[in-house]
Subunit: 79 residues, 2 copies
DNA sequence: CTATATTTGTGCGTATGTATG
DNA sequence: ACATACATACGCACAAATATA
């Protein structure tokens, strides 16, 4: 899954794993993403790394984050 | 403003720019300094460079840093 | 209304690795 | 060998907003 020795940064590896779950339809629009704390535990990374991974998905427009509520899979535009 | 080609290290250039803002009264005693992240963005340097710049100001007694709170312009001694 | 737990947001502290001059 | 500078990644502490008992 995650390779700490890979030249690919951990936060990118985590981001890609989460993105894959979304594209696979395992996480559907409106569904909550795992919390930072859960990502931390599931992938055994620091919270900062989990946060950065989610930030990548946000920049890609895949998810939307609400303060103190969570991060959710973005609704895809109707087109 | 900042010259990456200058023989003067970046962290010193940044420190001097911040010190100038303090001496100019633009940043007053008690006011928060820009965060490391903000310095990073404003001067387009790495976080380590921003940190080191702030460290210089701390050594000069211009600012005080509180863990997990921030860095603040030092209150000038009454003399 | 109060208290607690959860989750995101922010800021500093530290260590490691890489590259350059 | 050394100093500078970048990036990544770990951690701690606290604030702010939300949800729930």
């Amino acid at each position: 899954m995650i390779d700490p020795l890979s030249p690919t940064p951990l936060y990118l590896q985590v981001a890609d794993l989460l993105a894959a779950r979304i594209e696979r339809g395992e996480l559907r629009p409106g569904n909550p993403l795992p919390s930072e704390s859960q990502i931390q535990g599931q992938y055994d990374v620091a919270r900062g790394t989990a946060r950065r991974a989610v930030a990548v998905l946000r920049e890609r427009g895949l998810v939307v984050t609400l303060h103190a509520r969570g991060t959710f899979v973005a609704e895809r535009p109707t087109t």
